[in-house]
Symmetry: C2
Subunit: 786 residues, 2 copies
């Protein structure tokens, strides 16, 4: 075996590793006596023992070895910790290298600081047990597993000098998102992207059960990773000294291989997808921990997963802990003051080369504003409301095209193969779909340097984008509305990260995560029920108001205005829902800007209340509901010329909430001024009606609010039939007005009959012809033209 | 090459395939003239062309070849269609074999029926464009991709004679759930499970972009599947006659291999995980479709994905369509009446061997009631409310253990490695974790015939369980509450399936999908914010009330009662949220049964309104909120002996809705009787407060409702601090009463001070000691004992 480490260096590296392990065990167990200056007693131990030991020594082992190669080659490396439950390890290492005390000065590099370091871990008012936003050097919360490798690739895109090491636990490797994320190597271009070094860490067990990848034969394991397109390198064993030499030799090999790949591609251009190296590290779970506790084997088993000795009142457990801690020989590691001895501290890289201090892991530090074109330049000319038909997302796609063009290194779009389907085809005028796999003649806009990241996995798109944003860049995720639920849980975790990070003083704001949800519930009539679900908006509402924004622009110009706003924003999740089908356009650009700035407002041109008190408020949010509302208004105005209708359109859904609930919420006075204190409100809403109730239930006039929206009546039918099935169509909306406004006179019965007739004409027509009646398909707002 | 098909047979099989392709194209395009008796005209074509041609000919090809081996070996086969967008293919085949006309007699096997078959497809009032619940033989809705292989394995468990063929599209193969589901073979036991034959269908393109697996070298592809533990067999080409021979030879080989594996395991017992065969079928997208349209290559490209000629008004398109249809030589396939010629019809299997008629794909037909023990036998003895401490899910685990024992072939439990963590350890007294991968000494209850399905993938657990249920068996999914969001979207699709299936007359009800959500938001204080999310309940509420049930049993006996109820139910999704920590027990078994039967009710023993009108209603739902409410009641009763408090506990959340919204909803009269018409209600709720508002916003006394619940204030801290941070603790609840009930007299100021003192004592204590004050940890309900 190749032994690259000198006797001196291996001793020092092992000591450094022992120091990290000592600090990790200390964090899990110790309340006091951090340097074991006195014999360990039960009162030195925390009353509640929380944390995960099992994965930690392996994470520490990798860290010290990465430190060596960073120093040796002056590498720019971040460390993505898949098994984020091993929080103590990352905290320990960033403490040893000095980063931790720089960002948290009270955790000083001495005995007092070490005591605080130990106490704060998983302690009220302290730090979480996982690698989290509070942990320097992290871009991956290690609580919910599955996303580390997608994050790692997202971080590497457009970061040519960055090496992203990503430890994948064998538990996490069983998750669905992780299993597909190995294929990210088909989207990484060595010319202008950095490298990802995946380290699959096999320690054999999850919480209780064995892991799949630790229990397949080595030839299958090797085949699997060759099949994924990697060259696997095995580092297996349990003897520390042998493992140090093996890991060092392997790292030397893979670093050389990565540099070769990059050198070749950058000198000669991209020729073919390289076989990137990856490491399979097999080490015992809870390595160096107690061999046995209460007669049961512990090191190397699932019993090391969390806290090997949970009950410290058990006779002998304090002794085991003391021997365990002493096995690391702390007095060799820390000087009298409690500081890491200088010859060991010298093993860590300096300054921003320390993985805890690498600015890529605090992306806001590197974030630059996008170069944005003037969104007004893309405006659809609207001589009169409703007089022009356009496809909103196609117009938006032209803006996005130029954002791609103007920001060739800091902006990408992500989609599960729906960029063209969602009508962003214009981006292919300036870039391509990205693929470093084989490209064959006839492929449509596919190239190894494409900036449109398409893979049929919402998880991958989301994970890549999160990694890209967290390292200080910008992006947009375009998705079918129904299937964005696939990443509900990833959204949860990202929103929680943003929430926590915004309270971590040294973290800088990052670009917002922007979603375009198109091919939405009302225009998935051809794909049917499985493709019809507007509930993502409801889902995002559960997260902190500070990080959530939801927009339902009614037309192309308002979509442009909202898009520009989102691209400039920071630390939010922006959800934009907009249709891709040809639809009437309502607002010229000035009107759109004014409307979007306010977030909601009265459309005087459609109203008949002449600025006075109306008989009824017809509110709408979303493109299809807006069209149906205006069609209903037109019918009502034709049949009841004296009826005073006020039309209110809502773009920014958050305005409906009270100011105490959301910073965008309008005051109760404003709300009353728009929606009246006592008149019926017929609200046509894009999604599940209950959301509008939930947003407004504390408003004065809530008891007069009648919301029409998606009632989970979906199928394969015509677009207009979809709204009819859910009573969101013009006829049902008009009828709702009749039902709620008294004193409309004798015309009511006639109009009711007229509506019945139209609805049965509609049913008959679609059954016969398979498409909507011409008067529906060709409808245009025209009451103002008459 | 081995050529197993005689000239006669290959001709017939090819003709059968052409018939299926003809019927598929007909469904997508034709409105009339189904047998092309007249020259094709634009008016014979549907006005809206919807559907997915690209994947369909491949699906049809596989179908006819499976028919051959089913007949040859009398196999029991179901066909799981991953690329479910190819709906026309499955409809065509089930029509050809006669199943379709049996379940839909109006779609007769003649020209009239064929016209209806064509017209109904993707047509208002007709059938969806995907394989769906309406499609005979299906257990997998093909709209949202990713779940077919998990469904297939779920179907195969405990079905020793069943062969589940599962076509995986190369688009779907990119999804996260699909990527991990290949590893399901480590959980399939040839002794008592059936076989799964995965067929990876490489046709090269998704909607627009190329697929990953079609663009890696063949040696990588082969390595990948060897790494996944399969023996891959390649069937590649585009010449139909060559492909028929190749596919037939390959199917003969893999069927023989499957039978060998099964014979060996059943004769000699399970020795080691076999290398199951799988097929990689590479065929052109839109195979046999138009080679070129408008000068652009179409067959074999992404342009064949949906409708190759979308605009039929384009000159020449009708001609292309006619030539395309004629290329299948329909007059050779169908007789004068429009019926498939008998010598071709004879190729299909008979009766229940037809894949469209296989009862496993209509699981309700095979469903038998579980043999259930009497849940009362597991009751915790409760001499007085609050006098006993127990772990609710541990008690439930004893019941589950005996359900496993009594139903050794029809009940399994599924969990992402959390069975023991969620305190169902008792099940390991009678069974083990399932693994057919390597098992080593020291593994904890792992065996190849275990009935506890643990894999660290919520997607896999959900998919397996859905497949198991859809084929007529029973199961339970136990999961950490926060991470069940990972399968939000799978839940959506299953709930939609149940909704649709309940309206398909020939589908029989299946067992409900039961979730135990434990390790819930209030007891993930040690793992922290990423593990704290009670929002799954909110998510499920968006689906049809008919299929959704949510239970929050406050203690062990009520959990037993609810569990028994759920195990007997059909066609629902039952969500049970229950804690695993030692907690006070409130109801003896009789009281628990009465309470759960009603779903909510007054707890007289805790109330001080003596059955009269109270001053305040203190309502609670969930175990921790119930405990905090009772502790608050105790404090209030001690300090304000004359205050009339009514305690209402809610087990079945759906009772809060009005009867028009949910079948479990109580009447407004009942609601008013419980919650009063005008008294303040302080409601302590397990999850996000808004849900209680959403359920009750139409109730009389809603404006007096004040809900305390999770406000997204999470971290690593003590259990009691978690409730304090969210103002769900006894002190904040008691203070909320003071704030809302007037006339409590001079004691109010003293009590306010007392509360302030307690809250600051708490903060100080946890910062010093890291655990809750003894008075909190040791609190017991005792007011009735004094």
């Amino acid at each position: 075996m190749n032994k690259p480490l000198s006797t001196d260096l291996i001793q020092k590296m092992d000591a450094y590793w022992r120091a990290a392990n000592y600090l990790s065990v200390g964090q899990i167990y110790l309340f006091d006596n951090p340097l074991l200056r006195r014999p360990l007693k039960i009162e030195h131990v925390k009353p509640r023992l929380l944390g995960h030991w099992g994965t930690t020594p392996g994470l520490n082992f990798i860290y010290v070895h990465l430190n060596r190669v960073i120093k040796k080659h002056d590498l720019d490396v971040i460390y993505v910790t898949g098994p984020g439950h091993g929080g103590p390890g990352l905290v320990a290492n960033t403490y040893l290298e000095g980063t931790y005390s720089e960002v948290y000065p009270e955790i000083s590099q001495d005995e007092v600081g070490m005591k605080k370091l130990f106490t704060q871990f998983s302690f009220p008012g302290g730090i979480p047990s996982h690698v989290a936003a509070e942990t320097p050097g992290s871009i991956n919360e290690g609580g919910e597993l599955g996303y580390c490798l997608s994050h790692a690739y997202g971080a590497a895109f457009d970061n040519p000098d960055l090496l992203v090491t990503c430890v994948v636990g064998d538990g996490e490797a069983e998750t669905a998102p992780l299993a597909t994320s190995w294929h990210s190597n088909k989207f990484l271009n060595p010319v202008h992207d950095g490298a990802v070094l995946p380290i699959l860490h096999l320690n054999g067990y999850k919480i209780a059960g064995p892991t799949v990848l630790a229990r397949i034969p080595r030839d299958e394991l090797e085949s699997l990773f060759r099949g994924y397109g990697y060259t696997p390198h095995f580092v297996e064993g349990d003897d520390p000294m042998e493992m140090h030499q093996l890991m060092a030799a392997t790292l030397d090999t893979v670093i050389a291989s990565i540099r070769d790949i990059q050198r070749d591609a950058r000198a000669n251009g991209f020729k073919q997808r390289p076989l990137w190296p990856m490491i399979i590290l097999r080490s015992p779970k809870g390595w160096t921990g107690p061999k046995e506790v209460d007669g049961k084997r512990t090191e190397g088993t699932y019993r090391s997963h969390q806290v090997p000795m949970g009950d410290m009142s058990h006779p002998g457990h304090v002794k085991i802990l003391e021997e365990w801690l002493e096995s690391y020989r702390p007095r060799e590691l820390f000087d009298e003051s409690g500081r890491l001895r200088p010859e060991l501290a010298d093993l860590a890289p300096r300054g921003a080369r320390r993985m805890g201090a690498n600015p890529h892991a605090n992306g806001g530090l590197l974030l630059a504003d996008l170069t944005l074109p003037d969104f007004r330049d893309y405006a659809v000319t609207i001589p009169k409301p409703g007089s022009v038909i356009a496809e909103a997302t196609r117009i938006q796609g032209e803006l996005i095209r130029d954002v791609v063009k103007l920001n060739p290194e800091t902006f990408r779009v992500f989609s599960p193969d729906e960029t063209a389907s969602n009508r962003w085809g214009a981006v292919f005028e300036v870039t391509n779909r990205c693929s470093t796999a084989e490209i064959v003649p006839g492929d449509d806009h596919v190239a190894p340097d494409g900036r449109v990241m398409e893979v049929l996995s919402e998880h991958q798109c989301e994970g890549w984008l999160e990694g890209y944003l967290l390292t200080g860049r910008h992006g947009f995720f375009s998705c079918y509305e129904a299937f964005i639920h696939i990443i509900d849980s990833m959204f949860n975790q990202h929103a929680k990260w943003l929430d926590v990070a915004s309270h971590v003083p040294w973290r800088r704001p990052i670009a917002s995560l922007n979603y375009l949800l198109s091919s939405h519930v009302w225009r998935q009539d051809h794909n049917g029920f499985s493709h019809q679900d507007p509930g993502f908006i409801d889902h995002v509402m559960s997260k902190k108001a500070e990080v959530i924004r939801v927009y339902l622009p009614p037309d192309a110009n308002s979509l442009l205005s909202v898009t520009d706003h989102c691209l400039r924003s920071r630390n939010y999740v922006n959800v934009i829902v907009a249709g891709k089908q040809p639809s009437p356009q309502w607002l010229d650009m000035d009107a759109a800007i004014a409307h979007c700035t306010r977030g909601l407002g009265i459309w005087e041109w459609a109203s008949s209340d002449d600025g006075g008190e109306p008989d009824v408020v017809m509110a709408c949010a979303g493109d299809v509901p807006t069209m149906e509302t205006l069609a209903a208004v037109e019918l009502l105005r034709q049949h009841f010329p004296t009826l005073k209708i006020r039309v209110v359109n809502v773009v920014d859904l958050m305005t409906l909430q009270s100011q105490s609930q959301h910073p965008h919420g309008i005051s109760d006075e404003e709300f009353d001024a728009l929606f009246t204190r006592d008149k019926p409100i017929i609200f046509a809403y894009h999604g599940y009606p209950i959301l509008i109730h939930r947003l407004t239930y504390r408003r004065t006039n809530h008891h007069n609010l009648h919301v029409h929206g998606f009632k989970e009546e979906g199928t394969t039918t015509t677009p207009f039939d979809m709204v009819v099935l859910n009573e969101l169509d013009r006829f049902h909306l008009a009828r709702a007005v009749l039902d709620r406004v008294p004193g409309l006179g004798p015309g009511v019965a006639t109009f009711q009959k007229f509506i019945e007739g139209k609805l049965s004409d509609h049913k008959r027509h679609i059954r016969q012809h398979g498409e909507d009646m011409p008067e529906i398909r060709n409808w245009k707002w025209g009451v103002n033209e008459g």
